[in-house]
């Protein structure tokens, strides 16, 4: 028998389809830019051309040269930031992909992400680093966050397993419960940033060093400048993800070891799904719950377990993003859900629910964000147009399945001709 041609392999075809979908998305985005450019006198055809180049190659934009032309080259800050922002997307993408593999649509990623963010911020900013080493606090914060997410994810899981309530409905409701609960919890907490006057809407960065002090008999907090005569009770904060030298590789960016953690987790999930009996069970439940039950697989337990795992993954996304030390959490979340949660859906889709593929699709999504940022910075396109373009690209990227079938037909047509 003839060996299967490289192009006929299902895996190759999937990757190819994803790439073609991305290309089509980019083209469509360029058309939008062109239209906006041509209808906007301050942009014109030259502005539109600049826009298109930035959408495609924004990652390599280094600014403008002395003559005012766009200059391109390796931009370590953009690269680093791309990796940094990919972290939460990888995690929520994994969360959605895991759910899909087990036949559950986890649209609850935003809520789980928030639960993880809140729990890990609480641990990171409350445990005194004067007593516990900062690295241990960081690990505790991450694990607590993941546990909170697991708990939050298991709620719709249990509703689905034991009461047969649709997980999509339950997830959407738990999303908003999380959004409101987080606002309420932080509103009454002592973690709102009072050290920097202008940051009142935000929680402390985890890297902020907070000293609980007594000045003239009054208990208050102080930063690194401790007022004279104050008595220091304890020190909190100063927790941040290790950089492991990545900051010197990508100078000027926010990148840290979080990306490595995310990649390791993605590989672990890949192994879990494809190599273990647990993955076999979860996928069996997803593909045919009745057959799984017939075979003695505990389908209800597996549904809860899947949702708990998915919750923990989303939560880890939130935790890794906010434990980086240089990000601030805007705690008034009751009116909005974090976009990173929902973006997990297209990330998983683009990766065809393959955990390793998620690493790449999430990085692609975060690259688009960088391109959008450059577009806003360097041209007259505003951020809203940028968001529209990103949406167009993501939307068309989802046409991948259509393209996959199309590639299949194309190959088959050739085979028949032979």
């Amino acid at each position: 028998m003839k060996k299967e041609s490289f192009l006929d392999k299902a895996g190759t075809r999937s990757v190819l389809a994803s790439l073609v979908a991305i290309l089509i998305g980019m083209l469509a985005g360029s058309v939008v830019i062109l239209i906006v450019g041509l209808t906007n006198p301050s942009l014109g055809i030259s502005g539109a051309w600049e826009g298109i180049r930035l959408v495609v190659g924004g990652l390599f934009a280094t600014g403008r040269d002395t003559v005012g032309n766009l200059s391109f080259g390796f931009n370590p800050a953009s690269f680093g930031n791309m990796l940094f922002r990919a972290v939460p997307l990888i995690m929520t993408g994994l969360s959605v992909a895991l759910g899909n593999k087990a036949g559950l649509f986890n649209i609850g990623a935003p809520g789980q992400y928030l639960a993880g963010t809140a729990a890990s911020l609480f641990v990171a900013l409350s445990v005194p680093t004067s007593a516990v080493p900062a690295w241990l606090v960081w690990i505790m914060a991450l694990l607590t966050g993941m546990m909170a997410g697991a708990l939050w994810g298991s709620i719709p899981g249990m509703l689905k397993a034991y009461l047969n309530i649709n997980e999509v409905l339950a997830c959407i409701m738990t999303n908003w419960i999380a959004a409101n609960a987080v606002t309420w919890i932080f509103d009454s907490s002592s973690l709102k940033n009072v050290l920097e006057g202008t940051k009142s809407g935000y929680i402390y960065k985890t890297s902020t060093v907070i000293n609980d002090v007594i000045v003239d008999g009054v208990r208050t907090v102080a930063g690194t400048n401790i007022p004279e005569g104050a008595q220091v009770l304890s020190t909190r904060g100063g927790v941040a993800t290790a950089k492991l030298g990545l900051d010197s590789l990508f100078t000027g960016s926010q990148v840290n070891a979080g990306i490595l953690v995310a990649i390791v987790i993605a590989v672990v999930i890949y192994i879990l799904l494809s190599k273990t009996t647990l993955g076999y069970q979860l996928k069996a439940c997803g593909a045919n719950r009745y057959a799984a039950r017939y075979a003695g697989i505990r389908d209800k337990r597996n549904i809860v377990l899947t949702m708990a795992l998915a919750g923990a993954l989303s939560a880890a996304g939130g935790a890794l993003y906010y434990l980086s030390g240089n990000t601030e959490f805007f705690w008034n979340t009751y009116q909005s859900l974090p976009a990173e949660g929902f973006n997990g859906i297209p990330v998983a889709l683009l990766a065809i629910n393959n955990p390793v593929g998620v690493i790449f699709s999430a990085t692609f999504m975060s690259m688009l964000q960088i391109c959008g940022q450059k577009l806003t910075e360097l041209t007259a396109y505003n951020e809203y147009i940028t968001n529209v373009i990103i949406a167009v690209i993501v939307y068309l990227s989802a046409f991948m399945l259509v393209i996959k079938t199309w590639i299949g037909k194309l190959r088959k047509g050739k085979a028949v001709e032979k």
């Binding site: 009996t277 069970q281 593909a287 057959a291 039950r293 003695g296």
Partner: protein, 517 residues
């Protein structure tokens, strides 16, 4: 006589390939006007593929289709409909919550100013129903009517669209014996009215009774066409399978030993209604015997098996396996206590269709140490095991162990399940309609396997709706009627007629429970 113009449909030299398999290899099928033409073949012989080609669902790589002598191109089912070709699928395509009338007109509605002209439609449907003797209740919802009536609705759908060529894809697989007799009458009536019928089946008796000619396919190839009047079931089965087939099960008398399964006053709830579907059933199955639960579909047999296997909770009574009470044990525990189970619905319960053959082979046993180490699957062991089962039980598929089971033929899917369940080597086997929808070759094979299990000292509880199977295979027959066992019969001493009386509830050995109370 020159038949050239008598052919309403001609499929000439059709070839259709799928990855790894030639489903149709140079097949020619000619359908005369007004005849009932049976298409006979084993599961996986290519019957369904050929019909899908005719119906426009697949495009053949080679070959030509002619309608009334003129070449036509059928790219999709709409083209087929335009050529007045209609099909009753094995699994009905009806909308459950719509009424019968709405289902009949769906897709072919006459409208005036956007309003459906139901009155006209009703007249037409009523006229058709009367003319062809297709009794249906036009205002009933499809979910409330019997399977037999649903099939009549499907036939009416075809007639409503003025179809001339009617394809019946294994129409009797889902019917009771009485409904099958009725369907045969209906088909004969349709042919008399000038409709041309393609009847796909592998049930030889039905083909002998109803068809005018038979075309036989085997492994994707065309074997030949014969006049039904000039052939016998033995010849047909030889053409279909390729070798002589034993139509009667060959087995020695049972030598039952100690009790394996003991069921005492078992009650199981009904899925559909408030009352119990199984009402106080007691019986035993011993080592080395095949006990058959006979009965008309829907008399509690399914629920009884669900109760024993753990798919449904028991509301009362006791189940013991080798003396161990498993009445309320989870499915896994029951399985470990010694039950293997060939389920009634192979797609719903028997297989994870999107899993590969090898993955399905270890559906219950993947957690055994031979298939996993510290939670990691031993892929090599699974592959070897699957290959052995495929070899031993002759499970045919396109790509062997890595074939996705969805792409396999029904008969081979069933063979895979039987292989898996037999190989688990457990003291009790529940076999529910193990040969449903299978051809004689596969039936013979599975019957032999079941008898071999019995002779190896296994207890077998068989549930079957096929009277032939009940009479041939079992050592003892228990007849279920409305959730109770109404009689125990010895297949050697009873007749099909007597069995029928028990099944219909006209006769019973034990007095009714209510009467006692």
């Amino acid at each position: 006589m020159d038949h050239e113009n008598d052919y309403v449909i001609e499929m000439l030299h059709i070839t259709k390939e799928f990855p790894g398999i030639k489903a149709n290899d140079d097949i020619t099928l000619q359908l005369r006007r007004g005849e009932i033409h049976a298409l006979l073949g084993e599961n996986g012989a290519g019957k369904s593929t050929l019909m899908s080609v005719l119906f426009g669902l697949y495009q053949p790589e080679k070959g030509e289709i002619r309608k009334d002598g003129k070449p036509v191109k059928i790219n999709n089912p709409n083209d087929a409909t335009a050529l007045h070709i209609g099909m009753v699928h094995q699994h009905f395509k009806l909308i459950e919550v719509f009424t019968v009338l709405d289902n009949i007109i769906l897709g072919a509605e006459d409208t005036k100013l956007g309003f459906v002209q139901r009155k006209e439609a009703r007249k037409k449907a009523e006229a058709l129903s009367k003319r062809y003797g297709l009794a249906v209740d036009l205002d009933a919802k499809v979910e409330d009517i019997t399977v037999g009536m649903q099939q009549r609705v499907e036939i009416l759908k075809m007639l409503y669209r003025d179809n001339e060529v009617l394809i019946f894809d294994e129409p009797t697989a889902v019917l009771t014996p009485q409904e099958i007799t009725e369907l045969m009458q209906i088909m004969k009536g349709l042919a008399k009215e000038g409709k041309s019928i393609l009847f796909i089946s592998h049930k030889l008796n039905e083909i002998m009774e109803v068809s005018d000619r038979v075309s036989v396919l085997r492994k994707g190839r065309y074997i030949g066409t014969v006049n039904t009047g000039e052939t016998t079931t033995v010849e047909l089965s030889r053409m279909m399978v390729g070798h002589d087939v034993q139509l009667v099960v060959d087995k020695s008398p049972a030598q039952p030993k100690e009790t394996v399964l003991k069921v005492t006053d078992l009650h199981v709830a009904s899925r559909l209604y408030k009352h119990d579907a199984v009402k106080g059933v007691s019986f035993e199955v011993r080592k080395g015997e095949i006990v058959c639960i006979a009965g008309i579909d829907g008399n509690g047999q399914t629920e009884l098996v669900f109760g024993i296997s753990g798919l449904e909770k028991c509301t009362g009574g006791k189940i013991e396996i080798n003396g161990v009470d498993i009445t309320h044990a989870p499915i896994r525990k029951r399985s470990e206590a010694g039950i293997s189970h060939i389920p009634e619905d192979r797609h719903k319960h028997g297989l994870v269709l999107d899993y590969t053959l090898e993955q399905n082979m270890v559906l219950q046993s993947f957690e055994e140490p031979r298939f996993q180490h510290l939670g990691f699957i031993r892929f090599g062991a699974v592959r070897k095991y699957a290959e052995r089962l495929i070899e031993e039980y002759d499970v045919r598929s396109g790509q062997g162990p890595i074939t996705v089971t969805r792409s396999m033929s029904g008969g081979n899917q069933q063979k895979a399940i039987v292989a898996r369940e037999i190989d688990r080597d457990l003291p009790l086997m529940l076999a529910v309609q193990p040969t449903r929808g299978l051809d004689v070759g596969a039936i013979e094979n599975i019957h032999k396997q079941i008898v071999a299990q019995r002779d190896a000292g296994k207890a077998v509880l068989l549930v079957s709706l096929e009277l032939d199977e009940v009479m041939n295979l079992s050592d003892r027959i228990l007849v279920m009627y409305e959730g109770e066992i109404v009689g125990e019969l010895d297949p050697k001493k009873t007749t099909v007629e007597e069995l029928g009386l028990y099944m219909a509830g006209a006769k019973r050995q034990q007095p009714k429970k209510e009467a006692l109370a």
